[in-house]
């Protein structure tokens, strides 16, 4: 069988989720850049404009899923990189829980921002 170049062993749920989130992020990250730098221009971003976008349910849901996918993909990616660098034992467990807590915090904060922007447009 052909040699694989993955940094970590395939077949696990995290391995699968890393790739599913990657495929989703390819689309949403490109969309995010195109919308907020090329369609709208970053220097012209206002609270009213952001609130208007978040009042659209499809945009709100897409952004929440984008945040969830980016948070998982990023923190899991760091964890994989650390494991790949040979981190084991207690440092590995500490890294895992620091990343879990950091991921939850950034996700919750992102949701608070999204809800604020969505609520402000009502």
């Amino acid at each position: 069988m052909a040699e694989r170049y993955s940094s970590f062993s395939s077949g696990s749920t995290r391995w699968f989720l890393q790739r599913i989130s990657a495929a989703f992020l390819v689309v949403t990250l490109a969309f995010h850049f195109l919308l907020l730098h090329f369609y709208h221009h970053a220097p012209e971003i206002t609270f009213g404009g952001s609130a208007g976008r978040y009042s659209v349910p499809a945009y709100f849901v897409t952004m929440v899923l984008f945040l969830a996918a980016a948070t998982f993909h990023g923190t899991n990616g760091i964890y994989n990189a650390l494991v790949n660098q040979g981190v084991t034992g207690t440092p590995k467990r500490v890294a895992k829980w620091v990343l879990v807590v950091a991921g939850v915090l950034v996700f919750v904060q992102g949701i608070r921002i999204a809800l604020t922007l969505m609520g402000a447009s009502a």
Partner: protein, 131 residues
């Protein structure tokens, strides 16, 4: 069966002369990944100004956009995001068993680099507009 590779420590900077295209792809993907997750935390921190009200959000974002260094850093962010996306697509295809042979992997890595360069250079005027 999948198989992991012992690539040694990237921190051994003196090894860079020995790197093949595949190793550079691996190093660049890790580096851009670290930058992107770092930026996610920074981005959420900046957008948290929304919790302080309309004026705080608008003035924070527009104030940052008036800084030339922020615009230049945004071009850098675009570069790492585009490379991570294009190389990520390449890796997804490799995981699906498409383009596994070494020659195709190297060519698709170089294509990712060249396309990243073209997209970034073409986007510079948009990112620096109004400075």
């Amino acid at each position: 069966m999948s198989q992991s590779h012992n690539r040694g420590l990237v921190e051994d900077f003196g090894r860079w002369r020995e790197f093949s295209a595949g190793m550079w792809a691996w190093v660049f993907h890790k580096f851009t990944g670290w930058v992107l997750i770092g930026y996610l935390f920074t981005h959420i921190a900046v957008l948290s100004s929304a919790l302080s009200g309309r004026a705080a959000y608008t003035s924070t974002l527009q104030g940052l956009e008036q800084l030339a260094v922020v615009r230049v850093l945004e071009v850098g962010l675009l570069a790492v995001a585009v490379f991570h996306i294009l190389n990520g697509i390449r890796l997804l295809f490799v995981d699906l068993g498409v383009g596994l042979d070494l020659d195709t992997q190297e060519k698709s890595f170089y294509a990712s680099l060249i396309l990243t360069g073209i997209i970034v250079v073409a986007s510079v005027p948009v990112f620096l507009e109004g400075l």
